[in-house]
């Protein structure tokens, strides 16, 4: 017996042989990659007859602190693909650089516009990156929406998340938006068949209304946002939009918390 704390309550060496100290390590597996730090909230997108509309606000939060207010979370890949990032911002920056290097490699030889990577290719690539990283126990803490046109220049919209799960639907939303915006989007575009009857103006209006609802109810959101419309004509990306016609009158009617007495 000795006085060292690690020997307390353990079998005696002279009776049972030396105790394996490998069980006394203070270090565990790497965990710092397994939770997000600076985060972006929802990304929402909807298909319409000629393309896709996608939007995300310009806020990056540090926990509940609104830390960065000019963060562009939509990234144009080329003339027919845009990626929207929810989740960890540094992982988004890594993916941004990964996509830059992919773009450089793909364009060493000049190709016709039709031979360029399209949104479907890009989604396949990104989902494989996400799945590889989660299988390494080192996930990229993002939920991505890939919006644009596929190989036949038809509207394409799909998501990939930090587990490598993929999903496709005529309307998609990540994060809080999956709960708050998705039902609103589905009211106008319930299924793939309806997409053909939705105009660009309708889709943009729908996305703007949804962004407004998200700002009303998501405490990690902001009224400045980016919106992109992807059609055969290319990508129309606006990165400094402001939510218009806000009305907080509904707040008066909310009861059950806050400072009101009854």
């Amino acid at each position: 017996m000795n006085h060292l704390p690690q020997a307390w309550g353990r079998p005696r060496d002279d009776v049972y042989g030396a105790y394996s100290n490998s069980f006394l390590q203070t270090s565990g597996p790497t965990t710092h990659t397994q939770s997000p730090i600076v985060t972006g909230t929802s990304v929402i997108a909807v298909k319409f007859k000629d393309g896709v509309v996608i939007a995300a606000d310009n806020l990056a939060s540090y926990g509940s602190l609104a830390r960065f207010t000019d963060v562009k979370r939509l990234r144009k890949f080329n003339t027919r693909a845009v990626v929207g990032f929810g989740g960890d911002v540094s992982d988004m920056q890594y993916l941004d650089r990964l996509l830059s290097s992919l773009d450089i490699r793909e364009n060493y030889a000049e190709e016709s516009p039709d031979a360029q990577l399209h949104a479907k290719n890009l989604h396949t690539y990104l989902s494989k990156v996400m799945y590889k990283r989660r299988s390494d126990f080192n996930p990229l803490w993002n939920h991505l929406l890939v919006a644009g046109l596929d190989g036949e220049n038809k509207p394409f919209l799909a998501s990939a998340d930090l587990l490598g799960t993929t999903f496709s639907s005529p309307t998609l939303a990540t994060g809080f938006g999956a709960h708050l915006a998705q039902p609103i989007l589905r009211r106008t575009v319930p299924d793939e068949a309806t997409v053909a009857s939705v105009t660009k103006e309708q889709a943009v209006e729908l996305v703007k209304e949804s962004m407004k609802v998200l700002f009303y109810r998501d405490a990690r959101s902001m009224d400045k946002y980016s919106i992109a419309v992807i059609t055969k004509e290319g990508v129309e990306l606006k990165e400094n939009e402001k939510l218009e016609n806000q009305s907080w009158a509904f707040a008066e009617g909310i009861r059950g918390y806050g400072t009101q007495v009854n």
Binding site: M92, Y94, S100
Partner: protein, 288 residues
Amino acid sequence: MTSIGTGYDLSNSVFSPDGRNFQVEYAVKAVENGGTAIGIRCKDGVVLALEKIISSKLLKAGANKRISTVDRNIGVVSSGLLPDGRHFASRARDEAAQWRRTYKAPIPTSALANHMGSYVQMYTLYSSVRPFGITAIVGGWDPEIELPVDGQVGSGPATGSGGKKEGAKHGGPFLYMIEPSGLYWGYYGAATGKGRQSAKSELEKLDLAAGNLTLEEGVKEAARIIYAAHEDSKDKDFELEMTWVSSLDGPTKGRHQEVPKELLEEAERLAKKALEGDDDDDDEKMED
């Protein structure tokens, strides 16, 4: 080549008593037989042009490009052994990508030329390798504005400290030529390959140091010079391959690209006309 047979030319990295490395000199000989390649540094961009000798009638016209894009804003053309040129371009791409991984920004043309110069020079040092049988011309446009760092998503604080110097000048057109010894210089106009002598004398006439030549004029001059240089190996067919890189507000938006078909054809037409004009002059002289 009086020292041939003295034994000092058998191994790379061995000097002869009078201080020469024969393997490197032989590599230069390989370059001197290659199709002519030139680069012109204009005031608003760089042009690279190549006389691509057609070695077989069975090759598809316009295929098998020989001028390579290294990063978005940099191109490389080489003269000499084709596979060596391919490897050079491949290595240059790796260097550019590695620079981006380290610094999150595109590699400056000068830095690429420096790295590639060092790389080529290493192949003169060991007996287990041979020197590059190429002379490469590297042309690029370094962005004149301060680019955001790769992956940057915001612009940072609008007020407060910054420390950026107002009115500092960045970037511009750059042109370098790297030889088999690893030697490289920056040039206003560079030429290598079989027709380099006549190409160089034509380039000298352009007074490129004055910085008056525009990119579009440069394209036309480049085509003319390649056509003129081809007079040295007239019995062979050739294709003119030409790329350019302009400023961010120029025709290529700071990217290294092939010269558009219309402009290329126009430049070739003018080049042929200039050649015929020369012939006419000769004829007239003969008549006199």
